[in-house]
Amino acid sequence: MNRQEPHLDPELDALLEVGRFVPPVPEIVRVRTLSRARATVAAMAILPREPISTVRRRGLPLALAASLALATGAAVATAALLGRAPSSGTPAPPAIKHPEQPMHPDTLEVPPPSPMVEPTPTFTSKPQRSPRPTSAQESYAAELDLLARAQVACASREFSNALVLVAEHGRKFPSGRLAEEREALRVRALEGAGRTEEARRAAASFASRFPRSIMVPRQGGDPR
């Protein structure tokens, strides 16, 4: 069916002709938009595509514990066969490259923690629980994971969830390596949640804390 198109006023036609031009966005806005897009890609690569079901979530620690016990048992048995006790100095296997690693290494530089089995005391009735030292890489990965989730929540307009995650990051890593991104995200989430006054205060504190940040003009609600 080729329907007759409605007649267009020549004056309007001339105006529309001018309006067809697509102006380029400023370079800084382009860079900011693309970096946010890359962060979203990185965040979505970390997060599971579908939420884990309750049954699977409950089963996960069990499966993890079982595999850990099996691995420990195997290590003990191997050590007994070789006639020496397993030591904590066992070299860790090489870090496995995640198969679904996104293509932007600048956003996700941290390899997943190596699957090293910790030796556990076998014949003690009450195992001593010592706090596991967190390596710099692990803490960075944890930071990234938290902020990635906050970023996704923000992009999905779930601002209150984003604020919860931002607050959690602030509690766990008050001066973490991603503090700047966290504070920028806080301003955006507050703004999105309609808490304008708090957003303004957070933006002011952001600007004073990170005066050279690329995100400063945006937080100020300035032109893009």
Partner: protein, 183 residues
């Protein structure tokens, strides 16, 4: 006599994520302009662009990339902006649009700039549903069939919106031009 020829190594196979980002990067200007034409307030455009990217990224694997991507992006932008306005229904629609963006700038010496400002101001007088069809058809030059598909409306509905939208746009342009001339 033999000669050396430069042998290029094969380019790395593009990943779906890379292809999606590249497509998005190529259309950033269009997405920003579309949101402006649809009446998004300047301060919310970047967040809306991000939402559009999230939708594009989520559907990238199922998207028919042989077709032009602009009509699809327009459809996404329209839906996101529509939902956004519905969420903020308590606020007065377009009340927060920057004056500079909508009104004809008195300093605007260039005829083109004035024309664009006039067009944008006139577009704001159209309801969202008709504005989308007018922008898509008359500015993006998308065929009616594609408009109907991307906005999930019938062709008849698309024609009806276009007809009425153009009438409203012409009336708004006349009204604004008269006001401008009087001022």
């Amino acid at each position: 006599m033999g000669y050396l020829r430069l042998a290029h190594s094969a380019p790395p196979a593009p990943t779906p994520e890379g292809a999606c980002l590249a497509a998005f990067e190529g259309e950033i200007d269009y997405v920003f302009t579309t949101l402006k034409r649809l009446g998004a307030a300047p301060h919310e455009i970047e967040d809306l662009v991000q939402e559009i990217f999230v939708v594009l990224y989520r559907h990238w694997r199922t998207l028919d990339t042989d077709r032009p991507i602009r009509p699809y992006l327009f459809g996404v932008a329209y839906r996101i902006l529509y939902a956004h306005h519905r969420r903020h229904a308590k606020e007065v629609l377009y009340a927060d649009i920057d004056r500079e963006d909508g009104a004809v700038s008195p300093e605007g010496s260039l005829q083109g700039k004035q024309s664009i400002a006039l067009l944008m101001a006139a577009l704001k007088h159209l309801p969202m549903s008709r504005r989308a069809v007018v922008v898509m058809h008359d500015l993006d030059e998308v065929p009616i069939a594609d408009i109907a598909r991307n906005l999930s409306i019938t062709r008849f509905g698309a024609y009806a919106r276009l007809r009425k939208g153009r009438r409203e746009l012409a009336a708004a342009v006349r009204r604004l031009s008269r006001g401008e001339a009087r001022a």
